[in-house]
C-alpha cells in the first residue's frame, strides 16, 4: 500500500528506530508498503520506514537508471541492516522527500558492505558503491533518526532546492 511520506517537523523522523527482529506478516507488509511508496514517487530512489511513520529498522532502495549509479542491485528491501565495511568519504549534494525545499552537501563513503534480512527472511549482503552507496547510507541514517541536515559538512552548505530534476 502506498503510504504518505512524512515531512519535517514530524518527530518520528528524528527518532531512532527499533529493530525488526523476526520477519512476520506485519514486517513483510511493511516491506511491501516501502516498495509501493518508493515506486509511487517517480523521483524516489529509496524510502525508510520512519518516513512512512513506522519506527522500525527497514528501508528499500532502487537506483536503477540513475546516471550516477555504478553498482545497482535493483529493488532492495532490508530489515535490521548493518554496515560491515565502509570506504573513505566523498562530498555530494543531496535532498530528501521528508525535507522540503532544502538540499545540503554531505560527505559519505563511496563504497560499503551492508548486511540485513531480505523479504525472504534470509541474510543478504550487498556490496554497493557510488550512488547506490549514498542511497543506502541516506536510508540507514533515517533508521537512526538522522536527516541529511544532521550530516551537512558545514552550516553554510545547506541550500534552497531550486531545480527539481
Amino acid at each position: 500500500m502506498i503510504r504518505p511520506v512524512l515531512q519535517l517537523p514530524h518527530h518520528v523522523l528524528g527518532t531512532p528506530c527499533a529493530p525488526v527482529g523476526e520477519l512476520d506478516d506485519v514486517v513483510r507488509a511493511l516491506g511491501r508498503d516501502l516498495l509501493d511508496t518508493m515506486r509511487a514517487a517517480s523521483h524516489s530512489v529509496g524510502v525508510a520506514a520512519p518516513q512512512i511513520g513506522i519506527s522500525r529498522r527497514a528501508f528499500c532502495v532502487d537506483v536503477t537508471g540513475h546516471r550516477k549509479a555504478r553498482s545497482c542491485h535493483g529493488e532492495v528491501v532490508l530489515f535490521d541492516p548493518v554496515v560491515l565495511e565502509a570506504s573513505s568519504p566523498e562530498i555530494a549534494r543531496e535532498g530528501c522527500m521528508s525535507v522540503p525545499d532544502l538540499t545540503g552537501d554531505v560527505a559519505r563513503p563511496t563504497a560499503l558492505v551492508v548486511q540485513g534480512l531480505g523479504m525472504d527472511g534470509e541474510v543478504h549482503t550487498y556490496e554497493v558503491d557510488a550512488f547506490e552507496a549514498r542511497a543506502f547510507q541516506h536510508e540507514l541514517d533515517h533508521l537512526d533518526g538522522l536527516l541529511f541536515l544532521d550530516r551537512v559538512v558545514a552550516d553554510d552548505r545547506v541550500f534552497r532546492r531550486r531545480v527539481y530534476r
Binding site: 543531496e94 522527500m97 541550500f159 531545480v163
Partner: protein, 178 residues
Amino acid sequence: MPHVAVTAFGADRPGIVAAVTGVLMGHGGNLEDTAMTQLGGHFAMMLIVEVPDSESADALERALVADVGSQGLTVAVRPIVEAEAGDAEGSAWAVSLYGADRPGIVHRVATTLAEHRGNIVDLSTRVVGRDASPAYVLLLEVLLPASADAAALDEELRALAVELGVDIHLRPDDADVL
C-alpha cells in the same frame, strides 16, 4: 502578516544574536529566512521577520536602536513586499574561484554571469593569508535560464581566469533527492 528585513552589523562579541532576537520576539516577530555570519571580525545579520500587522518597520528599528544601538550595532529595518519564491526554470551551477587577491575579481565574474543572464543566489568571499600575498576565495551559486549556453559560459570563465591569474571552476550543482 507582513514581513520586514532586518540588518545589523557591528564588532563581534558574545550575545549579539540573543540581544537582537530578544527585541524582535518582544515585538511579536517570527524569524524566517536568516543569514548571520562573521565578516572580517564583525558580525553581520540579515533576517526576514514576520511581524504583526500592528508593527511598523520604523517602530521596530527605533526599538532595536534603543536596545542594541548603544552596544555598537548598526541596525536597519525595512518593510518588504511579499515575493513568491516559485521554482526557477533552468539549472543550478556552482562557481569556485581562488587565486591572488586583486581588485575587481567579483565584479568581473558577476559581469560575465550577468551577460549569460545568470542569477547569483548565493555568494561568499574570503581573504586568506593577509600578509604579503593574500589569497582570494570566492564561492557562488548561480541559476542559469534554460536557454543559457553553459559551455560558452565555461569557456568565458576560463578565459577570465587566465586574464585575472586565478583558478575558476564551473560545475553543475545538481542535488539528488533520496
